[in-house]
């Protein structure tokens, strides 16, 4: 069980990202976190495993108080919390298997991980997970050789390789096309059901959230403004979360079969590639 109590975050720039956020996630419950860009969704889930340090408030996972932990304890807590990212955040130049095994890093010592000698049961588990997400044929491929959907499956397998008690999922479908988005969401929800795993999913696509999760939390400028079943998302609530707009089309989409025309707005954020010319100049200047 995950419990957040009065969690607040103020960035060094003075931006108030979260204000007094409190809620509880029961075992096996999958929560969709919706809200406009900049509402603090990303900050919220990063405050849970303290990739972002919360300014005040507490996070409890089971009987651990994550917010009070020192470095060593925090690492032990993090390994129980799987995380799945928007741009997959795979280590592109490592193989699929290494990416999955990196989920075990919290459990093995440095030299074991350095020589890639993970315990046999961890390796077997990694194979099992890759089989479960349908990537058995790609074990030795480099992560950057995979398609977007495949990469996100590796991301899921990596999170599961941690044997997590909780999954934090940050915009898992923002870089995927609508069909793949649905496949990935279905896979995540299925896996959470299989394992009785609680999860928090940041998602900007309301229709997708309504289709797959049983509980939705709406975030607006760092405040929780809605917490309830997807059926409760009416025009009034959506206006409260996102602001004034004609919501009728979105609400109708709850009958979850006609949604292919809902264009996914997220496109892969292009990594800014240094141009060849700029690189040459940099190299040349140093001769």
């Amino acid at each position: 069980m995950l419990r957040l109590t009065n969690l607040s975050k103020v960035y060094a720039t003075g931006d108030r990202a979260l204000t007094d956020v409190s809620f509880t996630v029961e075992p096996g419950q999958v929560v969709g976190l919706i809200g406009p860009s900049g509402a603090g969704k990303s900050t919220l889930i990063r405050c849970i495993n303290r990739l972002v340090e919360p300014t005040s408030g507490q996070v409890h996972l089971g009987d651990m108080e994550i917010t009070g932990m020192r470095r060593h304890g925090l690492r032990r807590a993090r390994r129980r919390i799987g995380m799945i990212f928007q741009e997959y955040a795979l280590v592109e130049r490592l193989t699929v298997m290494e990416n999955v095994l990196s989920g075990q890093l919290g459990y093995v010592g440095f030299w074991r991980s350095f020589f890639r000698k993970f315990p046999p049961e961890a390796v077997a588990n990694a194979y099992r997970l890759l089989d479960r997400v349908g990537l058995s044929a790609h074990v030795d491929k480099r992560a950057d050789a995979l398609s977007g959907g495949q990469r996100q499956r590796v991301g899921i397998a990596r999170a599961l390789a941690q044997n997590p008690d909780l999954l934090l999922i940050d915009e898992p479908t923002a870089s995927l096309d609508p069909k793949t988005s649905r496949q990935i969401m279905r896979l995540i929800v299925e896996i959470c059901d299989e394992r009785g795993l609680p999860a928090i999913i940041n998602i900007h696509d309301v229709a997708l959230a309504q289709q797959f999760v049983r509980r939705i939390i709406g975030l607006q400028s760092g405040h929780v403004v809605f917490d309830g079943s997807p059926d409760g998302l009416d025009a009034e609530v959506l206006t409260k979360i996102y602001g004034e707009e004609d919501w009728s089309a979105t609400i109708r989409k709850t009958d979850d079969d006609v949604d292919e025309d809902l264009a996914d707005e997220g496109e892969p954020a292009g990594v800014v590639q240094e141009t060849e010319a700029a690189r040459r100049e940099r190299m040349a200047g140093l001769t």
Binding site: A89, S102, G106, S113
Partner: protein, 250 residues
């Protein structure tokens, strides 16, 4: 405004030119074409029989470049990690020191390093190796720390989120991202070092330059021609190899 800038540049150029040439003896300069012709005629035909005596210096030259580059790597890697904003333990204290090491190493040409080292550890290949290494530290560390600063932070975040230690994050998230840049930089520097090590012998640090110095001292121009040709071939060869290797990495 722009024209004023250009005008200032021209005036500055003329001023520099005046200062530079105030002691020039123009009679020597006007003599240059005939001098060039004279040297040219004396350089040919090359004395091919000199080649066997150049093989050992050539081997030394290669070793100076290669071992110097390897030695530089050992010192440059830690410096690079200390200099990169995202891996340095302290931006305020340690980073400036690392940057100072880099700029000092870069500012001083390998030939000057060789001059110093020959005085300290005596003439020979070792002085050349260390000179090349000292000059290369700054080069490699600078390019490497820029590569480290450019890595994708989300991959680091993802590995950190698994509960990995600092060392594991380095191994799994940072190193794989900089490895291609690292290999490219190393080979690139090795290529430059081959060029530089061909002349280190001029100040006594071993290699082909030693023979060049000897030949110049006795004005044995036909031998100089052979040495120049050998240097040219070596340089082209190393450039070809470095292009191949960089191609294979990317």
């Amino acid at each position: 405004m722009l024209w004023l800038g250009w005008l200032a540049l021209i005036a500055f150029f003329v001023f520099c030119w005046q200062v530079m040439t105030q002691n020039t003896i123009w009679a020597f300069v006007s003599d240059a074409p005939s001098q060039a012709g004279d040297i040219g005629s004396r350089m040919f035909p090359p004395r091919w029989s000199y080649i066997p005596q150049l093989l050992e210096p050539l081997w030394d030259t290669m070793n100076i470049a290669t071992l110097g580059t390897l030695l530089a790597l050992f010192m440059a890697i830690p410096v690079a990690f200390l200099a990169a904003r995202n891996t340095t333990p302290s931006v305020r204290f340690i980073r400036p020191i690392a940057l100072l090491i880099i700029v000092s190493s870069r500012s001083i040409n390998s030939l000057i390093w060789a001059l110093l080292l020959v005085a300290i550890i005596g003439p020979g290949v070792l002085a050349g190796i260390v000179a090349i290494a000292f000059r290369s530290i700054g080069f490699i560390a600078k390019l490497l720390y820029e590569a480290i600063e450019e890595i994708d932070a989300s991959q680091v975040e993802a590995v950190a989120a698994t509960g990995a230690t600092k060392a594991q994050i380095m191994d799994y998230a940072v190193v794989p991202q900089i490895l291609p840049a690292f290999a490219g930089i190393t080979v690139f520097r090795w290529d430059i070092n081959i060029r530089e090590s061909t002349v280190l012998g001029l100040v006594g640090a071993g290699g082909l330059g030693l023979r060049l110095q000897e030949s110049l001292n006795v004005l044995a121009w036909p031998q100089v021609t052979v040495i120049f040709m050998l240097i040219l071939i070596t340089v082209l060869f190393s450039e070809w190899i470095s292009a191949k290797v960089r191609h294979a990495i990317i």
